[in-house]
Each structure stands twice: as C-alpha cells, then as structure tokens.
Amino acid sequence: MAERLYRMARAESLRAVHLDTFVALYHRTSGITHLITAPAPEILATLGEAGMTLAALTQRLAHDYDLGDLDDAALAARLEELVAAGLVSDA
C-alpha cells in the first residue's frame, strides 16, 4: 500500500461543539457542518495536523483505545469518509 499521509484539516478552520454522542464540526473552509460520531472524532484527534500513515494510525489507536473490532478495511473506510468530507487531507 502506498504510504499516504493523512492529516486533519487545519485546526483554525474547524469549530467543534460536543453534543453528547455527537460532535458538530463546522468547517469554515467549505461552510459545511458535519455531525460526526465515534470513531471519527478520535481519528481526527489522533491524526492531528502533523499527519500519519494508515499503519501508524492503526498502531496509535490500538495503543490508546480498546479496539473491539480492529479491522484495517473498516478503519480505511472511516478515513476515506473523513477525506471525502474534507476533514482530512491525504496528500
């Protein structure tokens, strides 16, 4: 797999409001509000702006959380969703 580096959108472009099980995330760049739920907020927080590869992200999440259903394909799908939403860049 190519070593794509995933990065959270610039923090200053995001405004987050925590709503119980959801986080409402307003993305200033696109003017779109996203309602995100686990594991998306955790993935964003883990990626940060520095960015990391899918492998590094998997490792970090497994270290920080008790992943009940660790599945590379599922994590890749969650990441792709965040990329499609514009909340993560994959340069």
Binding site: S30, G31, I36, P39, E42, Y65, L67, D69, A85, L87
Partner: protein
Amino acid sequence: MSDETQDTPPEGTTRRRALMLGAVGASAIVSIRPALASTTASIVTCEIPVPDQGRAGSYIAADGSVVPAGTQGAFAPAGRPFKGQDVKAALNGGQLPGTSYQQSQAYTNYIRRLQSGTSGFTCFASLQMPRG
C-alpha cells in the same frame, strides 16, 4: 441489562476507552451542506470579484491581502469578476484568465482568504464542496 460495556472494562484489561470502528459500509459522518452551494450550476455561473465591491479599487498583494491602490509589488484589481469555473481551475494549479502568472497567484490567494459575508464567499464555498 448488563450488556452495557462502556463503563465496565473486562477484568485484566487496562482502563483504555473502548472504541468501535464499525462496519466497512457504516458511516460516522452526516454532512449538512448549505443549500445554495449544493447546486452544480452555481459553480459554473457564480462569480467572485477581486477584490469585493466594498474594497473596489484596492490592490491585491502577492499573499492575497488587500492593500491600498498603488502599493508597490501589489496587483491592480481584476477588471471583471472571475467565473467559478475559472477559479476552480486556478485553485487546482491553473491560471486565471487574462492574468499573468504572479497576478493569478495573488488573486487566487485573495480568493482562498475569503471569509463568510464577503462577496464571492458563497461561490468560493461551492468550489470547496467535497466530492461525493
């Protein structure tokens, strides 16, 4: 009744929080898009003045900031607003029509800095629409 696992880590595990990644086909995001920006037609036809009418006549510096007319090294305002389609191409590495390379860069930087409430912002926002 006792199926709830969130606050009761099984014996022998650390106190790490449980996190479920979900199925491949599931989704963890619902996006609320501004209605104006969701039409593709608006991307082609909408326009972005550089600078906006409120600052008409001002020059655009290389970094996209709006500076007083005549500022050295800055560019005179664009003669006419740019079409969304042209801006989209410029944001993807192209050049705005009727501009030099550096002028196009300055104008594109200006557009990137557009804020909500500024003329052209809705058009710019439409161009930022994520795929899908």
